[in-house]
C-alpha cells in the first residue's frame, strides 16, 4: 500500500507541475495578445505595413528641415484625397486634386472643411498614403491631422498641411496619394477645450505643444536621426521596401 501511495503522490506532484507550467504558458499567451498591439505598431512602422508611419502623424524636427535639399532632377505627382468616415455630415475636400512637386521642395496644401450640421463638432483626420511604402518618405512640418479640429455649427474652415517629400524616395516611384479620413470624435472630446487650444496655438500665446511634438523621435530610438544622416548620399534607406 505504501508503494502505491508513493506512486500516487508522484503522479499528483507531476500533474501539479504540468499544470503550473501550462498555466504560466497560458498567462504568457494572454499577455502576448496585448503585447501584440505595440508590436504591431512597431512592425507597421518598420515595414510600412498598412501605410503607417510616424512621419505621417508627427512633425519633422527643425534641424532636419534645415538640411533638406531639393532634387530638381525629377518631379513627383502628389495627389490628394479626402473621405469621411461613416458618412460624417461634413463637407471635406482638397483644394487641389494633384500637383507636381520636386523632392525636398517644401509646400503648403489646403483642404476645405465645412460643418453642415447645426451642432459643434470635433474632428480628427487620419492620414494614409498609397502606395503604402511611401508613408515614411512624406515628411510633414505642419498638418491639421496633428491636432483635433474644432468646427462650430455651420463653420467653414481651411485646413493646411505643409510638407516635403524626402529626396531618398525610390526612383521607381513617381506618383503618390495622400489621403485623409475625417472622423467625428465630438463625443470623446471637448469642443470648448479644443477651441481654446486651437486659438492659443494659432496666436502663439503661452502655447505648450502637445507632448508628441517633441517626443516622437524617442518612440523608435535613433530611427529618424539615422535616416537624416544619410540625407545627402543616395543611399537606399527607405523603411518601406
Amino acid at each position: 500500500m505504501s508503494i502505491k501511495n508513493k506512486q500516487e503522490e508522484q503522479k499528483q506532484r507531476g500533474i501539479r507541475r504540468t499544470l503550473i507550467k501550462s498555466l504560466i504558458g497560458l498567462v504568457f499567451m494572454f499577455g502576448f495578445a496585448f503585447a501584440l498591439v505595440p508590436i504591431y505598431d512597431v512592425l507597421c512602422e518598420v515595414t510600412g505595413l498598412n501605410g503607417r508611419s510616424q512621419f505621417l502623424t508627427n512633425p519633422v524636427k527643425q534641424k532636419n528641415i534645415d538640411k533638406v535639399v531639393v532634387d530638381y532632377s525629377r518631379k513627383i505627382k502628389l495627389q490628394f484625397d479626402a473621405s469621411n468616415n461613416k458618412h460624417v455630415p461634413i463637407e471635406f475636400e482638397p483644394n487641389q486634386r494633384n500637383t507636381l512637386i520636386n523632392p525636398g521642395d517644401i509646400k503648403t496644401f489646403t483642404y476645405r472643411v465645412k460643418n453642415t450640421t447645426g451642432k459643434d463638432m470635433v474632428l480628427q483626420a487620419i492620414p494614409s498614403t498609397s502606395p503604402n511604402e511611401v508613408a515614411s518618405y512624406l515628411r510633414k512640418i505642419e498638418c491639421f491631422c496633428f491636432n483635433q479640429q474644432p468646427l462650430a455649427a455651420g463653420e467653414e474652415a481651411e485646413l493646411s498641411v505643409r510638407l516635403y517629400i524626402h529626396s531618398s524616395l525610390p526612383k521607381e516611384i513617381n506618383a503618390m496619394t495622400l489621403s485623409y479620413t475625417l472622423y467625428d470624435i465630438t463625443e470623446a472630446s471637448d469642443f470648448q477645450k479644443i477651441s481654446v487650444e486651437k486659438n492659443a496655438r494659432e496666436n502663439d500665446i503661452d502655447y505648450i505643444a502637445p507632448e508628441h511634438d517633441d517626443d516622437h523621435e524617442h518612440s523608435i530610438p535613433g530611427q529618424e536621426s539615422k535616416q537624416e544622416e544619410h540625407n545627402d548620399d543616395d543611399d537606399h534607406h527607405g523603411t518601406g521596401t
Binding site: 500533474i15 504540468t18 497560458l26 495578445a33 498591439v37 472622423y183
Partner: protein
C-alpha cells in the same frame, strides 16, 4: 501535497470502487468520470450538430434560387454567422474533446483524466456558453451578423447589443477549451501506463497532445482579442478604431493569429482518428508512425506563422505576401507525408469496408481535395480572385465536413461498440455513409465552380448564372441533413439495443482500449496495465 490529503484521496478512490455511477440527474451534473463526461460532450455536440445544421439548411433554402426566398438579408447574415460559430465551437471542438475524454485514458492505460473536477467544469461551462450564444437570437437586433470572424469595425463600432453576449460566450468557450486542454496535457504527461513511452502512444493521443498545446497557445489570444473588442465597444478604448489611433486591420492579424491554428485544432485529432482506423481494417500496422508524429508537430508549429494568408487582400508589403505564401505552401509537405502514409498503410492490406473504414477512406480522399484547394488559395496572386468567394466556402467545408466530421463519424462507429457494448446496425451505417458521401459532394463540389465564376460568400442573393449549381447544392444539403438523422438513430439505438459487442469488437485491433470488456466498465485500469 501532504500525507493526510493523499490518504483521504486514496480512501475516496477505494470508496469509489465499491459502487457504479450514481443514479438520476445528479450523476450527470456532478460526475467526474471521464466516460460520463465524454458521453455528455458527444451527445451535446450531436444535438448542436442538428442546431447548426438547421441553420445551414436555412442558408441553403435561401440560396436555392436567386432573389430573396425565405429570409431577410439581416437574418441571413445572422444565420451565416451563427452557423459558423455553432459548428466550430459547439460541434467540432466539443466532439473532439468528448472523444479525448473517452479514449485517451483508455488508450494510455490511465484510470481517469488527471483533473476530473476540472473536467466536469469544462463541460458545464461549455453548456452555459452555448446558452449565452443561443440567447443572442432573443436580444434586440438579433444574433451576431458580422460573420463568425466578427471583424472590426463591423463587430466593434457597428456592434449590436448581442455582440456583447457573443463576447461573453466566447470567453466562456475559451475557458472551457483551455480547461479541456490542461486536462489532456496533464493526463498524457503524467498518467501513461508503465512502459508506454511517448513514441509508443497511439496517434490519436499524439495528435491530441499537440492539439492541446495549440489550444493553450491561441485560445488566450482569442480571449485577449474579444476583451479588446469589449473595451472598444463599452469603455472608449481605440484598439481597432482609427480615429483614436487604433487599426481595424490589427483585428484581422490578432483574429487569424488565433484563427489559423484553430483550423488545425479542428483537424489534427481527425488525423489521429483516421490513423487509428486505417491500420485496423487494412490489417497492417500504420505505415511511418514516427513520420506521422513529426508531421503532426511540424504542421502545428507552421500553423502558428501562416495566419496572414487569410489577409492577402487587406494590404500587405510584398515581402509579407511572399513569406506567408511560402510558409503556407510548406504546410502541404507534412500534410502530404500524412496522406501518403495513410495510402501506404492501406496498400496491399487485406481491407474490409466496415462503416468506420468507409468514412476513414472518404476522409483521406475528400480531405485531400480540400487541402489542394487550400494550396491554390495560398498563392497570394490568385487569392485576390478567390478571396471571399464561394471557392473559399467550398474549400473549408471540404476540410471540415468530409474532413473533420467524417473522421468523427469514423471514430464514433469505430468506438461505439466499446462505449455501449452493443454493435450498431452495420447496414444502416453503410446506408448512412453512402448517402452522406454522395450528398456532401453534391453540396460542396459545385461551390468550387460558382466561386471561381465570381459568386461572393455571405450574400443572400446571386446572379442568375449561378442558379443551377446553387439549386444542386441545396438539394445536396437537404439530402446530407436528412442522412444525419440516420446517424442519430444508429447511435441512440446502439445505446439501448443491438448485438452484444465482443471485447475486441474488430478483427485484431491494436490498442489498450480493446483489452477491456465491452461496454467499458465504469472504472478501468485502476491498476495500470503493463505495456511491452
Amino acid at each position: 501535497m501532504n500525507e493526510a490529503t493523499i490518504d483521504i484521496k486514496t480512501n475516496e478512490m477505494a470508496h469509489d470502487d465499491h459502487h457504479g455511477p450514481a443514479k438520476g440527474i445528479t450523476r450527470w451534473l456532478y460526475t467526474t468520470n471521464h466516460k460520463d463526461i465524454g458521453t455528455l460532450y458527444l451527445l451535446f455536440s450531436l444535438l448542436m450538430l442538428f442546431v447548426g445544421g438547421a441553420m445551414a439548411l436555412v442558408i441553403r433554402t435561401e440560396l436555392f434560387a436567386p432573389g430573396m426566398q425565405i429570409t431577410t438579408p439581416e437574418f441571413y447574415n445572422q444565420m451565416v454567422s451563427m452557423h459558423g460559430l455553432v459548428m466550430i465551437f459547439l460541434v467540432i471542438m466539443p466532439t473532439f474533446i468528448g472523444l479525448a475524454n473517452w479514449m485517451i485514458p483508455l488508450m494510455i492505460g490511465a484510470p481517469d483524466m488527471a483533473l476530473p473536477r476540472l473536467n466536469n467544469w469544462s463541460f458545464w461551462v461549455l453548456v452555459i456558453a452555448s446558452i449565452v450564444l443561443m440567447s443572442t437570437f432573443f436580444v434586440e437586433g438579433g444574433a451576431p451578423s458580422g460573420g463568425w470572424t466578427f471583424y472590426a469595425p463591423l463587430s466593434t463600432e457597428y456592434a449590436k447589443p448581442s455582440i456583447t453576449f457573443m463576447i461573453l460566450s466566447i470567453h466562456l468557450l475559451g475557458m472551457s477549451s483551455i480547461m479541456g486542454a490542461l486536462n489532456i496535457i496533464s493526463t498524457i504527461f503524467n498518467l501513461r501506463a508503465p512502459g508506454m513511452g511517448y513514441m509508443k502512444m497511439p496517434l490519436f493521443v499524439w495528435t491530441w497532445l499537440i492539439t492541446a498545446f495549440l489550444l493553450l497557445a491561441v485560445m488566450p489570444v482569442l480571449a485577449g482579442l474579444v476583451t479588446m473588442m469589449l473595451t472598444d465597444i463599452h469603455f472608449g478604448t481605440s484598439f481597432f478604431n482609427a480615429a483614436g489611433g487604433g487599426d481595424p486591420v490589427m483585428f484581422q492579424h490578432l483574429f487569424w493569429f488565433f484563427g489559423h491554428p484553430e483550423v488545425y485544432i479542428m483537424i489534427l485529432p481527425a488525423f489521429g482518428i483516421v490513423s487509428m482506423i486505417l491500420p485496423t481494417f487494412s490489417r497492417k500496422p500504420l505505415f511511418g508512425y514516427d513520420s506521422m508524429v513529426y508531421a503532426t508537430a511540424s504542421i502545428a508549429i507552421l500553423s502558428m506563422i501562416v495566419w496572414a494568408h487569410h489577409m492577402f487582400t487587406a494590404g500587405m508589403p510584398l515581402a509579407g505576401e511572399i513569406f506567408f505564401m511560402a510558409t503556407t505552401m510548406i504546410i502541404a509537405v507534412p500534410t502530404g507525408v500524412k496522406v501518403f502514409n495513410w495510402i501506404a498503410t492501406m496498400f496491399q492490406g487485406s481491407i474490409t469496408f466496415e462503416t468506420p473504414m468507409l468514412f476513414a477512406i472518404a476522409f483521406v480522399a475528400l480531405f485531400t481535395i480540400g487541402g489542394l484547394s487550400g494550396v491554390m488559395m495560398a498563392m497570394a496572386s490568385v487569392d485576390i480572385q478567390y478571396h471571399d468567394s464561394y471557392f473559399i466556402v467550398a474549400h473549408f467545408h471540404y476540410v471540415l465536413v468530409p474532413g473533420a466530421l467524417f473522421a468523427i463519424y469514423a471514430g464514433v462507429y469505430y468506438w461505439l461498440p466499446k462505449w455501449t457494448g452493443k454493435m450498431y446496425n452495420e447496414t444502416l451505417g453503410q446506408i448512412h455513409f453512402w448517402l452522406s458521401f454522395v450528398s456532401v459532394n453534391l453540396t460542396f463540389f459545385p461551390m468550387h465552380f460558382v466561386g471561381l465564376a465570381g459568386m461572393p460568400r455571405r450574400i443572400p442573393d446571386y446572379s442568375l448564372q449561378f442558379s443551377d449549381f446553387n439549386a444542386l447544392a441545396t438539394i445536396g444539403a437537404f439530402a446530407f441533413g436528412i442522412s444525419q438523422l440516420i446517424f442519430a438513430y444508429i447511435v441512440i439505438r446502439a445505446m439501448f439495443a443491438g448485438k452484444p459487442a465482443t471485447q475486441e469488437v474488430w478483427d485484431n485491433p491494436e490498442g489498450l482500449e480493446w483489452t477491456i470488456p465491452s461496454p467499458a466498465p465504469y472504472h478501468t485500469f485502476e491498476t495500470p496495465p503493463e505495456v511491452k
